[in-house]
């Protein structure tokens, strides 16, 4: 965290934010161009109020979710990681695990300057792989591999990607940070027992900031009591 002068680190942050903004604007414009150009080229009669009416429910649902999620992802994968993952999606099942395991493998902490670098690299590669696999599938092999992938015997495997992924991700971090893990796990499990797992999953985006806040709060209390074996920098920092 201390290598590289702060000017260099600021220059990098500016570069990433500018790159992120510009590429996000261009991607967005290109995405909207698909229905827009189609509508104009084929002179299709579209009632825009109807589109807004149909999209309204989705927007009401996804816009606040997007805000809660991005704020939650940011401290883990950094600004660059969030810019990239929001464009290509599949954050929970691919981008976040790629970044977290990349950081573990490189021995760098999430949230550090090094962590941000490894996150960006991992997420960029992950996006590249998914996009390539889909392109190849769409153009050539999709027809041939789908029958195999849809075989009933494989169904339980694909239905359980998320729990398998989580088991593999969670374990090393929990063992390394038992004290930090107690509060968020106890609280999350309690939420599931009270409201039911399905409910918690559906409103995951809203529970997320809550659990993360509780987790930090609990850690902070332990930190102040010196439970992490280091002296709180209290007197100086405050």
């Amino acid at each position: 965290m201390n290598n590289g002068s702060s000017e260099k680190s600021q220059a990098f942050d500016n570069k990433i934010n500018n790159l992120g903004r510009i590429t996000s604007i261009i991607s967005l414009a290109l995405m909207i161009a698909v229905p827009l150009v189609t509508t104009m080229f084929y002179k299709i009669d579209i009632v825009f109020t109807e589109i807004i009416a149909a999209a309204g429910g989705l927007i009401a649902m996804f816009a606040p979710m997007a805000v809660a999620e991005n704020i939650s992802y940011y401290p883990i994968i950094g600004a660059g990681g969030v810019y990239l993952s929001c464009i290509t999606g599949n954050i929970m099942n691919m981008k976040l695990p790629s970044a977290l395991s990349g950081m573990k493998l490189a021995g760098v902490e999430p949230g550090s300057a090094e962590g941000d670098v490894v996150s960006i690299i991992s997420i960029a590669v992950s996006s590249f792989v998914t996009v390539s696999i889909l392109a190849i599938s769409m153009l050539v092999i999709g027809k041939y591999i789908t029958p195999y992938l849809s075989k009933p015997i494989l169904a339980p495997a694909f239905a359980n990607i998320m729990p398998a992924l989580l088991g593999a991700l969670v374990m090393p971090f929990v063992i390394k940070s038992v004290k930090i893990s107690v509060m968020p796990f106890a609280l999350s499990i309690a939420l599931c027992l009270v409201f039911g797992g399905a409910f918690v999953q559906r409103y995951q985006s809203y529970f997320l900031p809550l659990i993360m806040f509780a987790s930090v709060l609990a850690s902070y209390c332990m930190y102040k009591r010196g439970m992490f074996g280091m002296k709180p920098a209290g007197s100086q920092a405050e």
Binding site: C86, S122, V125, L165, A214, A237
Partner: protein, 238 residues
């Protein structure tokens, strides 16, 4: 005109490809910037390469269900637009839901309804495109400020910062895991979770004992597959 002609037209291919190519360019630009910054920070190129390989190998498996979904959506929406949607922000579940909402709003039974015509298809394209862009919009307007604000807060250099980051992502992993580990009705998910957790620890141990560090480095893809495979075994044996 039949909507399938439009959906499978060269124009549609061109419009969708433009987005996808740009998204890949974006990934390359970010990766290049991060690589350079990584070198400045003194991260070994071999470490960054390992993170890239890990992300690439890992991302293959979670991409496979998306291929199946691509084939499923292509039946009703033509091959190019679902290809675009699943390559960028969208997720399989979202795209299906968005298209379905439009079909139902137009008085049809769903996207497979024979009454699904060009205007409805175009409307579905619009709704699918604008319903889920909000994470990107948020980034364009607010990510830079969030990044600046948070970097300032970190400059205090408190020894709490790494604990803070760890608390956040362990909180996130806890919330994501809890619905699976508390759902006793779906024991397959619990089996997958535990097998993957054991596999990741085993990889770490084997890597340490044998001195082959690669086993530990690639523990995530390996454990993911172990977790998924155990779901197959469990379903078929019990």
């Amino acid at each position: 005109m039949d909507f399938k002609e439009v959906a499978n037209s060269n124009l549609m291919f061109f419009l969708c490809s433009a987005v996808i190519v740009f998204v890949m360019v974006q990934a390359v630009l970010f990766a290049k910037a991060a690589w350079k910054r990584g070198a400045d920070l003194g991260i070994e190129p071999s470490t960054m390469k390992k993170a890239m390989t890990n992300a690439a190998i890992f991302s293959v498996v979670p991409s496979l269900p998306i291929v199946v979904m691509l084939m499923v959506l292509s039946v009703n929406l033509g091959q190019y637009f679902p290809w675009l949607r699943l390559s960028v922000v969208g997720s399989a579940a979202y795209e299906n839901m968005a298209a379905d909402i439009v079909a139902k709003a137009s008085g049809l039974s769903g996207i497979a309804d024979p009454g699904f015509d060009l205007p409805i298809f175009t409307m579905a394209m619009w709704v699918m495109s604008i319903g889920i862009i909000w994470g990107i919009v948020f980034n364009i307007f607010f990510m830079k400020s969030l990044d600046k604000f948070s970097k300032k807060a970190k400059e205090s250099g408190s020894s709490f910062v790494p604990i803070f980051s760890a608390s956040l992502f362990i909180g996130m992993l806890a919330l994501m895991s809890a619905p699976y580990i508390t759902n006793t009705h779906n024991s397959t998910a619990i089996v997958s979770f535990i097998s993957a957790a054991i596999a990741v620890l085993a990889c770490g141990q084997i890597g340490k004992v044998s001195g082959v560090k690669a086993i530990d480095d690639f523990s995530l893809p390996v454990s993911l597959i172990v977790g998924m495979a155990s779901a197959i075994v469990y379903t078929n044996v019990f």
